[in-house]
C-alpha cells in the first residue's frame, strides 16, 4: 500500500513537473536513464557483488545508439533502443560468464579492469568511435515519423517513464521469484544454496546479464537525451556514480535506484546553477550521510516515515 502510494506520487511527479517546468524534462530523462543503470547495479548488490564497471554497459548502450545513428544510418528510435539492449546483453553474457566465478573485492576489481579496457578502446579506436571527440546522435524518427526536437524529448521522457514502469515491474517480479531471492542467499551463504541444488553461477549469470541490459537501456536513453556521447561514459568514476546512486536510493526495492537517481540529478542541476565547483563535494557528503545515518538509503527513509505514520 505504502509502496504503491510512493510509486503513484513519483510517477505523478514525473508526469506533472516536466509539463509545468519544461526545462526539467531533460533532467528527468537523465534520472530515468541513470535509474535504469543503477537498478542493474542494485540487483548485483543484493548478492553482495559490487561492480565498479557497469558504466561499460551504460556506455555500450549509448555507443550502440551512436553507432547506428552516425555510422550505420539507422535513425529509428525503437530499433536503436532494442539494439542497445541486445548488444549490452550479449556483452553482459560474455563478460558475465567468467565474472560469476569471483566474489567480493576481486569481482569489483575485475569489473573495473574490463570497463577500463572498454573505456580505452572507445577512446582509441578513432575511426569507429570518434575517439575522445565522441559521436553525435541525430534526433531519430519515431514509428516512421520525423519529430521536432521538442516532440522527441517528450517521447523520450514519457516513453522512458513507461519503459521504467514496465521493466521496473518485471525486475520486481524477478526479485520476488526464486531466482531473485537466491541473490540474497548468495551473499549470506552460497554453499548452503548449492546444497539445496541451486546453481549459484546460473543465478549470478542471469542477474549479471539482466543488469547489463538495464544499464544498456539506460545508456541508450542517456545518449538520445544528450545527443552526444564520449568515452567518459565508460570511465570508472561513472561506474562509481552508478553504485552511489543505487546505494543512495536504497537497494531494497526497484524504486530505490530511481529515487537515488532523482536525488543525484536534482543536486547536479541545482549545483550547475548555484555551486558548479562543489557538486562532487555535495554528492560525496550526501553519500557519507546516507551511509552513516540511513543504512537503507533514501527510499528506506520514505519507508520508515511511512511506517511511523501508519502506527
Amino acid at each position: 500500500m505504502r509502496h504503491a502510494l510512493v510509486l503513484i506520487v513519483l510517477v505523478a511527479g514525473f508526469l506533472a513537473v516536466p509539463a509545468a517546468f519544461p526545462w526539467l524534462a531533460f533532467v528527468f530523462t537523465l534520472v530515468i536513464a541513470k535509474g535504469f543503470a543503477a537498478l542493474g547495479v542494485a540487483i548485483l548488490l543484493r548478492a553482495g557483488l559490487i561492480s565498479i564497471g557497469h558504466a561499460l554497459f551504460y556506455a555500450i548502450g549509448a555507443y550502440t545508439v551512436g553507432f547506428l545513428s552516425s555510422r550505420a544510418g539507422v535513425d529509428l528510435f525503437l530499433p536503436q533502443l532494442l539494439a542497445a539492449a541486445l548488444v549490452s546483453g550479449v556483452l553482459g553474457l560474455l563478460v558475465g560468464l567468467f565474472m560469476v566465478r569471483y566474489r567480493g573485492i576481486f569481482f569489483a576489481m575485475l569489473n573495473l579492469a574490463v570497463s577500463m579496457v572498454g573505456y580505452t578502446l572507445l577512446a582509441k579506436l578513432y575511426s569507429l568511435t570518434g575517439g575522445t571527440d565522441g559521436l553525435s546522435i541525430a534526433t531519430p524518427r519515431v514509428l516512421g515519423m520525423t519529430l521536432t526536437r521538442e516532440a522527441f524529448e517528450s517521447v523520450l521522457l514519457y516513453g522512458g517513464l513507461a519503459l521504467a514502469i514496465v521493466l521496473g515491474f518485471l525486475a520486481h517480479r524477478y526479485l520476488k521469484s526464486p531466482m531473485g531471492e537466491a541473490l540474497a542467499a548468495v551473499e549470506s551463504n552460497e554453499i548452503r544454496l548449492e546444497y539445496l541444488g541451486v546453481s549459484v553461477p546460473r543465478v549470478l549469470l542471469f542477474a549479471y546479464v539482466g543488469s547489463a541490459v538495464l544499464a544498456g537501456v539506460g545508456g541508450a536513453i542517456h545518449a538520445l537525451a544528450i545527443g552526444h556521447i564520449t568515452p567518459d561514459l565508460a570511465y570508472w568514476t561513472t561506474s562509481g556514480q552508478l553504485v552511489l546512486v543505487a546505494v543512495l536510493g536504497g537497494i531494497g526495492g526497484v524504486v530505490g535506484p530511481f529515487v537515488g537517481a532523482l536525488f543525484l540529478e536534482s543536486v547536479r542541476a541545482a549545483a550547475a546553477i548555484w555551486a558548479p565547483d562543489v557538486w562532487n563535494l555535495i554528492i560525496g557528503a550526501g553519500l557519507l550521510i546516507v551511509i552513516f545515518f540511513l543504512p537503507r538509503g533514501l527510499y528506506g527513509l520514505i519507508e520508515r516515515t511511512g511506517g511511523r505514520a501508519k502506527r
Binding site: 576481486f106 569489483a108 576489481m109 580505452t120 562509481g240 552511489l244 560525496g284 557528503a285 553519500l287
Partner: protein, 298 residues
C-alpha cells in the same frame, strides 16, 4: 633495437611510480581490510603540495638540490596531516562492514577531495621540474637516460627494502604483522590495535603522497591525476595479490614492461596494457600472483 633499453628504463620508472601507489594500497588493505578508493586523492594531493612548496622555494632563489628534501617532506606533511585525521573520522567506522560500504565511503571521500583540490589549487596545470633538470642526463654507450628516472627506480627499491625491514625488524612492524594475522588475539595480548590501524593507514598515505610528489617533476600536476592513479594502483595491487608487498613490486615491473612492449608493438593500446595483464593474471590465478586463498602474509 637500440631504443629497447631506454624504453625499458622509461617503463621501469613508470612502474616505480605505480608501485608507490599500489604498495600503500596493498599495505592499507592487508592491515585494515579496507580497499581505499581515496588513495588516489592522496597521490594527487602529494603531487600538488610538492609542486606548490617546491615552486615557492625555487622562486625564492634556493638551490635546486633543495627540491629533493622538499619532495619527501611534502609527502610526510600530507601523511601527518591527513593520515590520522581521515582514519579517525571516516575509515574507522567502516571496519568489519560489507565491502560495498567501505568502497562507497572511500569513494565519497575521493569525490570530496576532487573538489577540495580544485578549490584549493585551481584547475590549471602546475609544473616544477627543478629536480629533473638538476640531475641532468647521462649518456651510456650512446644511449641517453634521464637521471631522475634512474633515481625513481632506486627509490622504489629502497621502499621495498625499508618496508621489509620495518615489518620484520621493528616493534611497530611486528605489531602490524600480529594484527594482520589475528586482530582479536593481538588486542588481547595488549597491542593497541587502534593505533596500529592509524599508523598503517598513515604509512599508506605517505607512500601514496610520495608517489605523487615524485611523479610531479617529470609530468606536472593537473586535475584528474588522482582518478587515473587509483585505477592503475588497483590493477597493480590486484595483479600482485592484494596485501602482498613483493607482489605489488613484481606486478609493477610486469605492468611497466607490458606498457613498453605495447608502445613498441601497438602504441594505441598502451593505456590498456595494465588491465589486460590484470585480466590475464586473475583469470589464471584468481587471487593474484602472490595472493594465497588461505593464509595471508605481508
Amino acid at each position: 633495437m637500440d631504443f629497447i633499453l631506454p624504453m625499458l628504463v622509461d617503463g621501469l620508472a613508470a612502474s616505480a611510480l605505480i608501485f608507490f601507489i599500489a604498495v600503500g594500497l596493498t599495505l592499507v588493505f592487508s592491515v585494515l581490510r579496507v580497499l581505499n578508493v581515496a588513495h588516489g586523492s592522496f597521490y594527487a594531493i602529494g603531487a600538488y603540495v610538492a609542486v606548490v612548496i617546491g615552486g615557492f622555494v625555487m622562486s625564492a632563489g634556493a638551490s635546486p638540490w633543495l627540491s629533493f628534501p622538499i619532495l619527501i617532506l611534502s609527502a610526510a606533511l600530507v601523511a601527518a596531516l591527513l593520515g590520522p585525521a581521515i582514519e579517525r573520522t571516516f575509515i574507522r567506522f567502516t571496519y568489519g562492514k560489507p565491502e560495498a560500504v567501505q568502497i562507497l565511503v572511500t569513494f565519497a571521500l575521493f569525490l570530496i577531495f576532487e573538489d577540495l583540490q580544485k578549490l584549493i589549487f585551481g584547475v590549471q596545470a602546475y609544473y616544477q621540474d627543478a629536480a629533473v633538470s638538476v640531475l641532468g642526463i647521462s649518456d651510456i654507450g650512446g644511449i641517453i637516460y634521464l637521471n631522475y628516472q634512474l633515481l625513481l627506480i632506486a627509490l622504489a627499491v629502497v621502499v621495498v627494502v625499508a618496508l621489509r625491514v620495518m615489518l620484520h625488524h621493528t616493534r611497530l612492524g611486528k605489531m602490524i604483522t600480529a594484527v594482520v594475522a589475528d586482530p582479536e588475539v593481538s588486542a588481547t595480548l595488549g597491542i593497541d590495535t587502534r593505533r596500529v590501524y592509524a599508523a598503517a593507514f598513515t604509512i599508506g598515505v605517505f607512500l601514496a603522497a610520495l608517489g605523487g610528489a615524485l611523479a610531479s617533476p617529470n609530468s606536472g600536476v593537473a586535475p584528474g591525476l588522482g582518478a587515473e592513479a587509483i585505477v592503475l594502483g588497483f590493477a597493480v595491487a590486484a595483479i600482485g595479490g592484494l596485501g602482498q608487498i613483493e607482489g605489488a613490486a613484481l606486478a609493477a615491473i610486469i605492468v611497466g614492461i607490458a606498457r613498453v612492449v605495447a608502445i613498441y608493438q601497438m602504441p594505441q593500446l598502451e593505456p590498456v596494457a595494465p588491465y589486460l595483464v590484470m585480466l590475464a593474471v586473475l583469470l589464471v590465478r584468481p587471487y593474484g600472483l602472490f595472493g594465497a586463498a588461505t593464509a595471508r602474509r605481508i
